[in-house]
Amino acid sequence: MSSTITSWGDKNPARLRTTNLIRIGFAIVLLIGWEAISRSGIFLRDVVPSLGPIALAIFKLVQNPVFYANLQATAFEIAMALGIGSALGIACGIIIGSRPFLSAAFEPYIYYMAPTPRIIFFPVMIMWFGVGVASKIALGAMSCFFVVALATADGMRQIDRVLIRVGRSFRATSLQMAFKIYLPAMRIPVLNGIRLGFGTAVVTALLAETKLSNQGLGFMVMQTYSRFDMPSLYGLLIIIFIIAGLGNAVLGRFANTAHHS
């Protein structure tokens, strides 16, 4: 998702005040609405717990060492998936993006495979890589690969031809061309691709953990669900959403920095 930070750094105090007032107003309406639904009995008891127990569950979760062990397992899977998927995606994107013939031959396959839900490949990955972390990493890397490859190929086509001719006139090798010309010139689309790839890798790895796993945050979600501990389930999901949002924001900040450098 493109950067949408609109209010950060806003110097106009009146506008900033209005923005904050609207935000606070919406937050209050949401919280009151939640509490009202919780007490109304529209849903079965405990399905929509009161805000107090959810806050308490979040407080207990962040003090629980088991949560950090699972967070570590998921973070490892996602980091590995992002690294492998991005590296393969960039390499493939450079190759097909630099040759129009290969682009026309293979890019349609990558383009139409990109939005396919990757979780359906989980049974295949289990057969290839086993039930441990390797199958989740492979699935996450597969998710990441397609978006990064497409973004890189697109970035390659936007590189100023003069830069490529300069590289070739210096008789740069393929590796030198990749690291000295292509990657610096297309850092913004590549970083945006990695950011999108991160999002899909997170979703895929966590979903795979909910299906078959003995560690990770997805596994923890299913454990909490099987105990029907709804406040903890809400708390855990809120924490996961915040972590995913922070990861996305950090990658977005990288992309913004690259854009302004």
Binding site: M1, S2, S3, T4, I5, T6, S7, D10, R15, T18, T19, N20, I22, R23, F26, F43, V47, V48, P100, F101, L102, S103, A104, A105, F106, E107, P108, Y109, Y111, Y112, M113, A114, P115, T116, P117, I119, I120, F121, F122, P123, V124, I126, M127, W128, R157, G199, V203, L206, L207, T210, G218, M222, L233, L237, I240, F241, A244, G245, N248, A249
Partner: protein, 258 residues
């Protein structure tokens, strides 16, 4: 995608034929490697077995009925994300204070792995298609909101000035200038939103073993019917491709009309 079609010294069809032949060649190579025992046949089925399993899973597993079920959930969710997302995006464009306050929140919603909350939706709406549709709508709406606003904001000022000089009403400005100008970005948002919808629909079917093609893959994998599992995955890829080709066609048709 269509913009990048190659028309060089070899014409348009040669690279397409080369791509298709390469994919076919990869399957033939895989068949040979499996038959000579380089790759274990218990892990990867023969491509010919996958092909031969197609009639079986179409008849015995009622693939077409399952395709209809998955397609129904996808169509309802896809229509709903557009019906909800585009008006909210327009409202955010119209009221700048609202945009400043809430755009970051929608960006956070777009980045959140909502589909992971399927146990919550299961508890709220039961084990039914409603759960899948509601969850898919929540997953897919945020990118459409953001891209609609982005598209409308990016309208060139010169176009707006032309509209003002022609004394267009607000409604005319929207339908004749703002919407056509924002259409490419709105469709980018729809494509992103539909990707989340697809992940959510098929992913949830697979995870909770309910409904159409997702459930079929889960069933076949649990029965250790590997050729059938691969064939069912092929069907999901086919549905996904048809889904996005139809979106492209609608975009091209609308592009010609506006």
């Amino acid at each position: 995608m269509a913009k990048s079609l190659y028309i060089g010294p070899y014409g348009r069809w040669l690279p397409i034929a080369f791509g298709a032949m390469t994919v076919l060649g990869a399957f033939v190579l895989l068949e040979i490697l499996l038959r000579v025992g380089v790759i274990n046949r218990y892990i990867v089925p023969l491509p010919s077995e996958v092909l031969l399993s197609l009639p079986r899973i179409i008849v015995e597993e009622k693939v077409l009925a399952r395709c209809r079920e998955t397609a129904f959930e996808m169509l309802i969710s896809s229509a709903a994300v557009i019906a909800i997302g585009v008006p909210i995006g327009v409202a955010l464009y119209r009221y700048k204070a609202l945009r400043n306050a809430l755009e970051d929140w929608f960006a956070a919603l777009a980045a959140a792995p909502i589909v992971l909350a399927f146990p919550l939706f299961l508890v709220m709406f039961g084990r039914s298609a409603t759960t899948i549709i509601v969850m898919s709508v929540v997953s897919g709406v945020a990118p459409i909101i953001l891209k609609t606003t982005e598209g409308l904001v990016a309208t060139r000022p010169v176009l707006l000035n032309v509209g003002k000089s022609l004394k267009m009403t607000q409604s005319q400005m929207f339908w004749k200038i703002l919407l056509p100008s924002a259409l490419p970005l709105i469709f980018t948002g729809i494509r992103l939103g539909w990707t989340f919808v697809l992940i959510s629909v098929v992913g949830t079917e697979f995870l909770i073993n309910l409904g159409g093609l997702g459930q079929l893959i889960n069933d076949l994998a649990e029965r250790y019917d590997m050729p059938g599992t691969y064939a069912a995955i092929g069907f999901v890829i086919l549905v996904s491709i048809l889904f996005f080709i139809s979106l492209e066609r609608v975009e091209q048709w609308l592009g010609r009309r506006t």
